[in-house]
């Protein structure tokens, strides 16, 4: 077969085009264990499961707003913040992992002014450990990453304090250390590190406690107001609660797919 110059140029052009789009296709398709991961979804980090560790396919929390009262809320916030050496700073530079907030601030779309009087006025807010976390996608150093079991966790060693994640998080779950937090920690827990100036921090679903086979600290002191378990297991406590009661999530229309559910 005789190759005409015209045909050769056609083949060469198609080849060059294919070669040109190859990196784009790879970037869209790769980056994780599942095909949906890649450029548009955060990749997930495999989790080693130790001998004592609690494990799940998808950790989730259910907050029963009717069971929260002043004492329980106070206990929860206090136990979380002492366990994780969260400094007590007042004003705009405050740092919080879990905190109490008015319902109308938490649920911007779902509530209106004619709610029943008896309903909860406030609830607890914390990191939602989203299925599609914007904070993970914007982090330039991969200091914040998502584990295979769904927990969105921080590697404080890698955080450069750029605060992109704080801009990305629609729930305000992240706090920045504007100053050395150590002078503001009343009682330091030696088992957990403090942070330094210039690092972002947030709730980690007590990943360090799950590895030891313990439930998150807040769940333990919640007197039944918080439930924690595997969303993929139909027999788990969280799934049973979600099947029985009406539940809402914070701003689900944003597409982040939060995994903290509120029973109202």
């Amino acid at each position: 077969m005789k190759t005409v110059r015209r045909d050769f140029l056609k083949v060469a052009a198609v080849t060059a085009f294919g070669w040109g789009i190859c990196p784009t296709v790879k970037a869209l398709a790769s980056g994780g264990a599942r095909p949906s991961e890649g450029l548009f979804f955060a990749s997930r980090h495999a989790v080693h499961v130790g001998p004592n560790a609690l494990k799940a396919q998808r950790w989730a929390m259910v907050i029963d707003t009717t069971k929260l009262n002043e004492k329980v809320v106070q206990d929860i916030v206090q136990v979380c913040h002492t366990t994780h050496n969260v400094p007590d700073i007042s004003g705009q530079q405050n740092i919080k992992w879990i905190w109490e907030a008015p319902m109308e601030n938490l649920f911007l779309d779902d509530l209106h002014e004619f709610q029943p009087e008896s309903g909860a006025k406030t609830a607890l807010a914390l990191c939602n450990h989203c299925d599609n976390p914007p904070c993970v996608r914007v982090c330039p150093t991969k200091a914040t990453f998502q584990r295979e079991d769904g927990i969105v966790i921080m590697d404080f060693h890698r955080c450069i304090g750029c605060r992109y994640c704080m801009a990305g998080c629609p729930y305000g779950s992240r706090s920045f250390n504007f100053q050395d937090p150590r002078p503001f920690i009343a009682k330091t827990t030696p088992d957990f590190p403090t942070r330094t100036k210039g690092v972002v921090e947030k709730c980690e679903f007590c990943a360090e406690r799950l590895a030891e086979g313990k439930m998150p600290a807040c769940v333990e002191v919640s007197e039944g107001a918080l439930a924690f378990g595997d969303l993929a297991d139909p027999e788990s406590e969280v799934r049973k609660l979600l099947a029985e009661r009406f539940s809402i999530r914070r701003s689900p229309t944003l597409g982040t797919n939060p995994c903290v559910y509120y029973l109202v």
Binding site: A53, F145, D155, H157, A211
Partner: protein
């Protein structure tokens, strides 16, 4: 040679300046390895003493990455068949309790300043 005096003076200044560390230290005592506090709690460390002396910093770096990013908390020792928890404060400083008499001694004498304790808590330091 043009500008002989200037060149020679310049060379002399340069050589004196470059060799300053050598002649400044003439007569001063040689480096002595600091005496570290002995551990009473355990018989042996997670690895041999020689390995720990040379490699503890890279080992701690590896532990840090494995614990935080892979949630792998168990360290399988190669000297004895035990499993240790990969933790600076819970494992290392459980035996080497006194940071001032152990970690800081060598770090100070070789003038390194690791930033471990910027975040990680010295368990004894809390009680002080």
């Amino acid at each position: 040679m043009y500008h002989k005096s200037k060149i020679l003076t310049g060379l002399a200044v340069f050589i004196i300046f470059m060799t300053y560390p050598f002649w400044n230290n003439i007569g001063s005592a040689a480096y002595v390895r600091p005496e570290l506090e002995k551990v009473k709690k355990a018989k042996e460390c997670v690895e041999s003493v020689e390995f720990m002396r040379a490699e503890h910093m890279s080992m701690l770096n590896e532990w840090r990455d494995e614990v935080v990013r892979d949630a792998s908390h168990e360290y399988h020792s190669t000297v004895n068949n035990s499993v240790y928890q990969k933790s600076l404060t819970k494992t290392c400083m459980d035996c080497h309790e006194n940071k001032d008499k152990f970690c800081d001694k060598c770090h100070d004498s070789v003038a390194v300043d690791p930033y471990c304790w910027d975040c990680h808590v010295d368990p004894k330091g809390v009680q002080k």
